[in-house]
Symmetry: D4
């Protein structure tokens, strides 16, 4: 199974939330990898990861971050792959800091932002993105949507 989705987060304290994205990807049979790297403390690691992501076969990057959540934007600056941002909530400012830092990207470099703490939905979105070029995955999504309507809890 190819690794198509990279899951990143700025701090290992975010692992408990972000690894839920992996669980959802497993359900759809989509290969993934997960890594902790800070856009501010280890920017070259992030640049290298983002710059090589497409060549290594990744097709989508999910990046979770709190506070001034720059990680998704920095990744997006260094790749043409779609980048999904997951704002994380750390206590102050109601999480508006991470939400605004993820979503308010300038023209040219979007980050596809999901809800505060929305790691699972980031994974569903990644599957929807991959499915635009993969009829088998689209079929799985249709089944999944039917299950949702029947009460499936994500």
């Amino acid at each position: 199974m190819d690794t198509l989705v990279g899951i990143l987060m700025g701090s290992d304290s975010d692992m408990a939330v972000m690894e839920k994205a992996g669980g959802v990807l497993d359900r759809f049979g989509v290969g993934w990898e997960i890594e902790v790297m800070s856009a501010h403390r280890a920017p070259e690691k992030v640049t290298d990861y983002a710059g090589s992501a497409e060549d290594r076969g990744l097709r989508v990057v999910i990046a979770g971050a709190g506070l001034a959540a720059h990680l998704p934007g920095v990744v997006a600056a260094h790749t043409t792959l779609p980048v999904i941002g997951v704002p994380l909530y750390n206590g102050a400012l109601g999480g508006a800091d991470s939400l605004y830092s993820c979503v308010q990207m300038p023209p040219g470099v979007p980050v596809a932002t999901v809800a505060v703490g929305g790691a699972k939905n980031a994974a569903v979105l990644a599957v929807q993105i991959l499915a635009t070029g993969d009829e088998a995955l689209r079929a799985k999504l249709r089944d999944y949507k039917k299950e949702l309507s029947e009460g499936l809890k994500l």
Copy 2:
């Protein structure tokens, strides 16, 4: 050229902003259509549009809306295609109303939200999404990213 991206908005007063998304898609040679339909005033039109979008060949839906911006979420409820939400600003509450209404989707049904008023970035994101299954488009994105770094204004 196939129509791969549907651009929706809740009110024709949003046309001036939302049609900029079409301009960006043209640049990448991606076919699109644009329609005005309100999730609240004409919900069946939205349901029909969303429910048939995949069968009609669309691969991504961009939906812009202001106030309690439900349009992207309602579209997302009726399709498995990726839905990109563009919050629009109408004067009160700084646009936080439309941003929160777009992005804070519950588990299972994501909306890929871009910046308040970010119609152009919605189009860039749509191209990135389509490019996950289209090497020619990925090449165009790499060229585009180079142009951005050289000063291209979107």
Copy 3:
């Protein structure tokens, strides 16, 4: 006793709050029913419920939802009955997300929004609405208002 009020919520985790509305309706002898249905995961269930509510004899719908609280707006899109929205608070953004998503409805399709977590007041409002056409209920409301002024805790 006819069932005049439908109480809906987007997730069964909201039951503890929303069933308080039923307790208030009982006090006034107003019949009610309660159901969990998500506007995003099971939109057809919501559409069917809203579309048939008037014919089934309902006169008011109360809908509670958190995050991007679309449930009341989606119900309102599919019925001409008055819809009361109860924003629910989930931790991030202070509940402003659900409040704005409930209340900022566009021209033509109102949602009568009460306080964050205000399920009891939604029920009082439902009784006030029904009483506009029911003198006996108006009398009960006058008694209730007198009791409130004497220290009754709702």
Copy 4:
């Protein structure tokens, strides 16, 4: 035609917005009256108005106010009729001041709050409320909803 809806506002500078509610009520053939009275400067006038509203035949009160928008809440304290609050925006705080002051009512005394500046929707809601006891009005609402879906601008 009976006067069933009272439209109030705290300041005559709010008249241009609030009289739009009357226009919508006219469309449905619902009688209304409109008055300017401040909950803070002329509280007795408000108390008298609210206290006698039901006896004078009113069935719904719409109250618009800006800043610390107490008018709807004060009216609601003195009547058992349903009170619809219209928060108005005066420049600072994005209108959050009037929205919160309208909607965050304590248990026992609800205000049915609509969008910031939503005078037209207040009128639609008033008609929906009156229609719970009036089949002819319900029929008009069904026609109106059909017109909305066909593009009617409120």
Copy 5:
């Protein structure tokens, strides 16, 4: 000792915070009384209290309230005594609801608002107000200010 300050609150759940104001007044030898009365549930009680406060010898009223904190404004509407508002925090919206509802009063009817939860400071302000006409109290305030600068905890 004359009773010069009335301390009000909207709900007895606010007593633990509000009675701290009494403790501060005791320190300055200023007589006070404390009562629970809701501007929304028992408006006539509030109107009577405020309307007779000056005649009964009160010189300042302190009113604490949460949510749509109308109590101080309603009191201010019915008396010419200075009214001090204490916004109280109930969980949602960070307390901005009660703060805005207290402070954003319209021209003509001010409420002297202190910090969210600031019952003690309301009492200090009441003493400062009374001291404008009472040299002995001004002397006590000067001593108190000296003690503050030496580390006194209020």
Copy 6:
């Protein structure tokens, strides 16, 4: 006529708003003075002003400021007179910056905060404060309240 109220502001660009306070004080026959002084650029001037205010015969200080509105708090730190803060709005953050900086004072040193831009109400509050020790002024306030209820615009 004694000068009983000092009106301060942080910048002469605030004069147009703040001098309205003087107009209201004139109406009540209360003497006042007005000065521009910045708590940050000319702190000693502020300290001297505040420290000598009581001895010079002032009984209330009104201080208007925008942005991080420290002026009222700095004055309050250096006098035992009641200090009324007027938050002023400068474009960004909706005025919440000046409001929070005025009102959220720590225990021991209150600022009596009025609405954003509420210079007139600051003057009314100053009159109410002075009236606690001045029966003639209380009589004027009762007349004024009557005029307000009859439609007087402040």
Copy 7:
């Protein structure tokens, strides 16, 4: 070792957070002192401290404060040394009160503001500031940055 950095806070309840700044300074071999003094309760102590700081050899002041966080601004008003503000969070308003009160300083008197609760970063910034005139400290910062990139937790 000279004492180059003064660490201040408004209340001893802030000590647990603020003393972390000292720990970071120790790591870089920068001498520091720490004191509790309130800009509002003991303003002269603050004025004296700030006014003499440069002469006593301090080169940077770090000031942490909550609520209407005036301490950093008052210090900045009385010294030409760079002042670093640390907004602290006390429960209400999400910490926006202290953040806005720190950062929104008027032209002429800046406060270098760090994140809500960011005492450690205040210390790193102090070291960066001192290093502009100290090559040995710059070398330590380069080592530290390398360690950060290798996973050092501050």
Copy 8:
């Protein structure tokens, strides 16, 4: 005159605000350079600039940015020089987006944030920083502070 301060901004539309920083630096005889570079569109240019800044003799970097204002944080990630962030306001969200994105940096990599639009204060702060190692500049700051107290407008 050595170039000690680099002034950056994310878009040339920010030039009118940001070049005011240069004017202030001129007043103090501090050499500066100014450049437009986007952290998102031209990240390598930013990385190169930041990475070489210290070696080229810069001692402070001022970076202004709007929306998700990542520029100061990205610069700070690639240099050990102090980085001053100037949040810029673009219409939506009251500027809270750029403020939060600048200031809420994670432990280890601070950005010294000034007020929204505070380019002049960024320059004053830069001078204060440089003055920690330059007695002649400290003398100029003392003169400047005296002029401020005498009414100098920055």
